[in-house]
Assembly symmetry: C3
C-alpha cells in the first residue's frame, strides 16, 4: 500500500502503480531468498500475488483513505515490519547461518522493498536519512535472537514480544519525532 500511494503521488497510471506496489511488497523477501538460494517465496504460491493485487486495487479505488486511515496504515505497516523481520531472521537461522547474518537478513526483508521503491521513484531512499524504520528492525531482530537463545520462552510469545517491541519503537519514534543525529555536510557537494 505504501508503494501504491507513493506511486500515485507521482501521477503514475494504474498499471505502473501495480508494478511499483508489487516490487515494494516482494522486493525485500526476494533479495533475501536469492541470497539464501532458497525458492523465492511468492513464486510457488498465488496467495501473495493475489493479496498485493487486491490491496493495490483497493488503494487505487479509495484514494482518499490515505488521509483518513493514516493511523490504520501505520499500524499495518509497523506490524508488517515486525513480521517481515522475524521471517527474515528465521530463514537465516534455518539456513544454519550466524545469528548476526540472520539479523541482517531480517532487516533486508523488512526494509529493501522500500529502498527499491524509492530508487525507482527517483528519490533518495527515506530510510537512509530518517530511519528509525531500519533501526526498529535491527533492534527487534536482535531482541528476537536474544530471547530465542538465552531464554526458554515459547516461540509464539517471543514473536509477539518482538512485534510489540518494533511497533512500540516506531510509535514512539513518530510521536516524539525521534531522529538519529545527522552528519553535517562538511564537504563540498562535488562528485567524488
Amino acid at each position: 500500500m505504501s508503494g501504491s500511494f507513493a506511486a500515485m503521488q507521482k501521477r503514475f497510471d494504474p498499471f505502473g502503480v501495480l508494478i511499483i506496489a508489487f516490487i515494494t511488497s516482494v522486493g525485500g523477501g526476494t533479495v533475501r531468498d536469492l541470497l539464501l538460494d532458497v525458492p523465492v517465496f511468492w513464486m510457488s504460491d498465488l496467495r501473495t500475488i493475489t493479496l498485493i493485487l487486491v490491496t493495490s486495487v483497493f488503494a487505487m479505488v479509495f484514494k482518499s483513505i490515505e488521509k483518513n486511515f493514516k493511523n490504520t496504515l501505520f499500524v499495518f505497516d509497523s506490524f508488517g515490519l515486525g513480521l517481515f523481520t522475524i521471517i527474515g531472521v528465521q530463514k537465516g537461522i534455518n539456513a544454519d547461518l550466524h545469528p548476526f547474518i540472520g539479523i541482517i537478513l531480517g532487516t533486508i526483508t523488512g526494509c529493501f522493498g522500500g529502498i527499491i521503491r524509492d530508487t525507482l521513484l527517483n528519490r533518495i531512499p527515506l530510510i537512509f536519512r530518517k530511519e528509525i524504520y531500519a533501526t526498529a528492525s535491527v533492534v527487534g531482530g536482535s531482541f528476537y535472537i536474544l530471547l530465542k537463545y538465552y531464554t526458554s520462552i515459547s516461540e509464539e510469545i517471543n514473536q509477539t514480544f518482538t512485534i510489540l517491541l518494533i511497533f512500540t519503537i516506531r510509535t514512539l519514534a513518530v510521536k516524539y519525532r525521534w531522529q538519529i543525529p545527522k552528519f553535517y555536510r562538511f564537504y563540498g557537494d562535488g562528485e567524488m
Copy 2:
C-alpha cells in the same frame, strides 16, 4: 540499442554506453533466471554478449541512424518484446509454476531491462508512466497461455500470433497515442 541511444543522449563515454547497453539487454532475463534459480542465460554462451557488443558499436558508429531508422528500431524493439515475453512465460511453465506466475516472468523478461536502464540514468522509468509497453507484454503473455492450454494449435503458430498481437498493440498505441489515464496528484509532494 535503446540502451545505447539513451546513454548517448546523456553524453556518456563509449564504455559507459556499452555497460548500459549490456544491462538493458540482459537485465530482464537475468532477473528471471535468478528468480527461477536456473543458469543465467548469457553466461554459458558468448553469442548473446557478442550480439550486444556488435549492435552497441554499430549504434555508436552510426549515431544518426536513430533519426532515420526510428521505424526499423521500433519494429525490432516490439518484436523483441514479444519474443522476450514468450521466453519468460515458457521458462516459468517449464519450472512447473502457475501460468499466472509465468505471465509475471514474461513481463519481467520483457520490461525489467528498461526499468534498470532508466533507474541507472537517474530518471523515473518510462514504463511506470506511459506503459502500453508492459500492458502489451501482459496481454500477449496471457494470450499465449490461453492458446496453449485451451486450443490445440501448434506452438509455432501460437508464438507467431502472440508476437503479432504484441506488435499490433504497440503499433496502435503509438499511432493513436493510447495512454492509460493517470492519477491526478491529489496529495502534496511531501515525503511519505
Copy 3:
C-alpha cells in the same frame, strides 16, 4: 569507505551511512555470486561484515581523514579494484565459464558496488561518465587471463602484475586526467 564518505556528504544519519557502506562493499561480489549460483561470500563468514563495520565507524569518527588521507584512500581503493577483479575472474574460471565471461564477472565484482551506491544516492553512476575505473578493471582482467593461459609464470606473480597494472592505469589516469572522449548530445533531451 568510499561508500561512507559519499553518504556522509549527503547528510545521512550514521545508520544510513552504514547501510550504504555495506551495499557498496558487498554489492559487486553479491551480484557475481548470485549470477554464478554459488554461496554469497559474506553470508558464511562474519569477517567481511566486521571489517565493513569497523572501517565505516572509523570513517565516521575521523571524518577529517578524507582530506588528509586522500592519497592513502586512493591507494587502497585501486588495490581493492585489482583484488576484486582478480577474484571475479577466478570465480568465473572455476565455474568453467569462458574467460571472456570471467572478465565481465571481474568487472562486475570491482564496479557494481559503486554503481549501486550512486544509484541509491540518486546520481548517475560516475563510472558511466568517467570510467577509467571500469576500463582499468577490464584491461587488468584481460591481462590476467593472457598471462594465465599463454605464459607459465606462477599465479602469485600474475596476480601481483595484474594489481600493479590496474594500479598504474588508475594512477596515470588521475595524474594526466585521462578521459575517454564523450559523445556530444546530438539529440534533444526528450524522453525516448
